[in-house]
Subunit: 214 residues, 2 copies
DNA sequence: TAGATTGTTAATCGATTAACAATC
DNA sequence: TAGATTGTTAATCGATTAACAATC
């Protein structure tokens, strides 16, 4: 892995997609791919694929192409998916519960350790054997258990306060589902899933079709 | 609304954010804002704000700024949020149910009319008074009820088949939560919510912090 | 070795920012 | 009117694509 100059975020956003397609190739038992073949598959230009990968190092071999397995592993490592992350979910409404189940079943490497809510009717119930705890105890729990990621599934009005608590307690990242842009210290990463925004941009494209596509 | 040359997708992706901040200004009773004040609030440059808005028309007034209410309405109209959209959800697992509830409670203008699944234990149950129907009947239902949007909450292995059926039945847009890139006809818009990809890019940024931010 | 395909530099394209004349 | 702020053109910056020498 090379890595000296800052890598652009548009490149990073493409990495999980590369990885998904590589996984699929693995599944099909394909062990080798050229940037040209990969281009036809994934829809980026061969040039872009080579440029993107060379931000991190020379993973290919001239005259041959890229080894699927090792490229998959390299990208996984670049993304930091060779580690395990401890997570808590704050806000155990419909969305929070869905995310709890989703990560429980599908996301190896991202483990939900605690669920938190203010609602007394939720506190004490279990979701996949994880008890919902009182929001009051969030900071203490995050500190004591070295939680890496806080997932915010509260309303937008509570989201910033939750973010403040999570940051204070020492999380390194926040996965934010509340429709608001959070203020956090520089050393905390935030990734937003703004469902409304997504739906609204879908609405735009539905009304502009015929013209062209996203 | 001007609108002749094709507007870049990066601009469209910013519109819901403008709209969110304008809503907030409305809530605070602020009726007027300059691109400079707006810039400080939303974090885009004043120049970019003016450029973005002028893709669609001259919504401001020299020497004054922008009227919050009317700008909010203009952006809503550009996004197509002055209409109602009929939706179905295919796949009523945890995520599907969460989305059903989410849209039910929060998304005026986007109305879920039908829920579909293949699981016999789900067929017949009701979520917010909407019965889960047999996936077999999807195409017929979408055709008969002029459904605009299909929401795909199935596994990735079934997603393309569902998309094919939805397109065949005549939806204008697909909101896709399955971790796969769908192939659809040109006249159908697709908006992806790739939760895995989002989590993976969070992981990347968590390991690179100190350096800078997303 | 010859052929293929990468890694990388150079050219192009598009998006953002700066500047300022138009105008409310 | 003078001051403020837009709309818009021009300059810059960054990202994508093209080209090709390096090399397996």
């Amino acid at each position: 892995m090379k890595k000296d100059t800052k890598i652009s975020n548009v490149v990073i956003k493409r990495l999980p997609r590369y990885r998904r397609y590589l996984k699929e190739l693995q599944r099909k038992g394909i062990s080798k791919i050229s940037s040209n073949e990969f281009s036809r598959l994934i829809g980026y230009t061969a040039s872009q694929i080579r440029q993107d990968l060379n931000n991190f190092g020379g993973f290919g071999q001239q005259g041959y192409g890229y080894n699927v397995d090792s490229l998959y592993n390299e990208i996984s490592a670049i993304l930091g998916l060779d580690q395990e992350y401890k997570m808590v979910i704050v806000g155990v409404g419909n969305l929070g519960q869905a995310i709890a189940n989703y990560t429980y079943y599908y996301k190896a490497g991202f483990v939900v350790h605690g669920l938190f809510d203010v609602n007394p009717r939720l506190i004490g119930i279990k979701i996949n054997d994880i008890e919902v705890m009182d929001y009051e105890n969030l900071v203490e729990y995050v500190e004591d258990n070295n939680i890496d990621i806080g997932i915010i599934c509260t309303t937008k009005d509570n989201a910033q306060e939750v973010a403040d608590k999570l940051c204070f307690a020492g999380v390194k990242g926040i996965w934010n589902f509340a429709p608001i842009d959070l203020e956090v210290p520089d050393h905390v990463a935030v990734e937003n899933v703004h469902l409304s925004d997504s739906l609204h941009s879908l609405a735009y494209h539905m009304n502009r079709n015929g013209e062209s596509r996203q």
